[in-house]
Amino acid sequence: MRNPYRTQKIAFFLLLLATLLIVVPVGLIVVIIIQKGLPAINWQFLSDIPRQGMRAGGIFPAIVGTLYLVTGAIIFALPIGLLTAIYLSEYSKDNTLTRLIRLAIVNLAGVPSVVYGLFGLALFVIFFKFGASILSGSLTLGIMILPVIITASREALESVPHSFREVSLSLGASKWQTIRHIVLPNAIPGILTGTILGLGRAAGETAPILFTVAAFYLPQLPDSIFDQVMALPYHLYVISTQVPNVNEKVRYGTAFVLLALVLCMNLIAVIIRSKFRKKKKW
């Protein structure tokens, strides 16, 4: 006879196993990168330009380049994403146009990153004649993370209780005053979290910057937004596949810096979220 209690135990075990299997790859990635990358980290590695055909020296230009690109992406994507989210959540009615916009956002999120790269090349680099530059790269990354920012912001805005809006309106506040003074302040944690997660993704992508900004080897800092820069993910790709005889330490060191950067961003997002959740009063 089958023992239902034992069946349950086996099922629980399988569920637990499946869950643990998610942890394993993440843990292994982190452990291996730290183990192999950490020994490479020193002040020179972080602050020097690459030397001897990128086999020695540091990765400072790539770090700076990635920070520039991420900053550029946020300057472009946050205002547009936030305004779109406000429109969708507060103003739009359920009609064909709105459904079209929502469909566009979903599809934007599903476009492979290399396609963004080609799109950026065609539109920003060639059509607008920005050339391969920080501007082109930032815009391309910005478009890539738009759906993340829009979706997160919309959810944050819509999670503000409807009753707050009614109270504000009933006191004679206009719709915009209600959004500005009641809805937005209470949605900021969610918006920030979404934005930072989007930036984490932008920092790590290679394909969108491949044709639009990333320099193979450029041992100097950019002078303007129309200059090319090196960027961490592309630099990692280059020293891993394009340059022979690069010390493993340098490669994993670069990977470590990139991973640390992205994890730091995610950590900041987590901290913001938990801090505001404690402060949340309803």
Binding site: E166, V167, L171, G172, A173, Q177, K281, W282
Partner: protein
Amino acid sequence: MVKLETHDLNIWFGPAHVIKQVNVEIQANEILSVIGPSNSGKTTFLRTLNRLNDLSANYKISGKVELERKDIYAFDVELLRRKIGMVFALPLPLPLSIFENVAYGVRVTGIKNKKKLNEKVESALRQGYLWEEVKDRLDESAFKLSGGQQQRLCIARTLAVEPEIVLFDEPCSGLDPISTAKVEDAMVELKKKYTIVLVTNNVKQAARVGDRTAFFLSGELIEIDKTDRIFTAPRDKRTDGYVRGKFG
């Protein structure tokens, strides 16, 4: 003087016909209680008066609502809602300090002068019978107040805008008897300055505070009369049944 009136008011939410052919005149400085079982359209009626129903999708209105003989749709909606304030069923403080909750409605009119704000907030809190309890903790979050205090804060917040009419939507439904008594005292006191429409599920409350009482059933106004009369000699036997607790 007739302050607020409806003419052949009909309201639909999608296919649901929620208010049917309602004609009411609300006198200045009276408390009109609106009673009736759940789903009789009381709250919808109330939210029609300050156009809060406009926010709902599928909302359709026919007939007329007039504030001092002027169609409420002829007002700027913000101005109308400043003239017709509302206190909701549950205490709904905004996620702000006690002071800022009361100051909010004043601030949105563009008043920034700190002294003027202080005066208005104090005066409103006094009218809401809350000043003495909160005067030393105005900067604390409004969520730290008890339920009854929160509801009086909401009343003060509504009064700070200096409305002419105050709509109360079951303001005591979440409160204990002592808090309820305080809110009722406040309402009777407010009558001197304001016109009050009170929606309540509590028949006894209507009897205690209402000058006149309107009985709604399934979206129809069955009867409206002096509160004494509604409770002692109603003309409609459905009113009689309801106020005696036979149904509802």
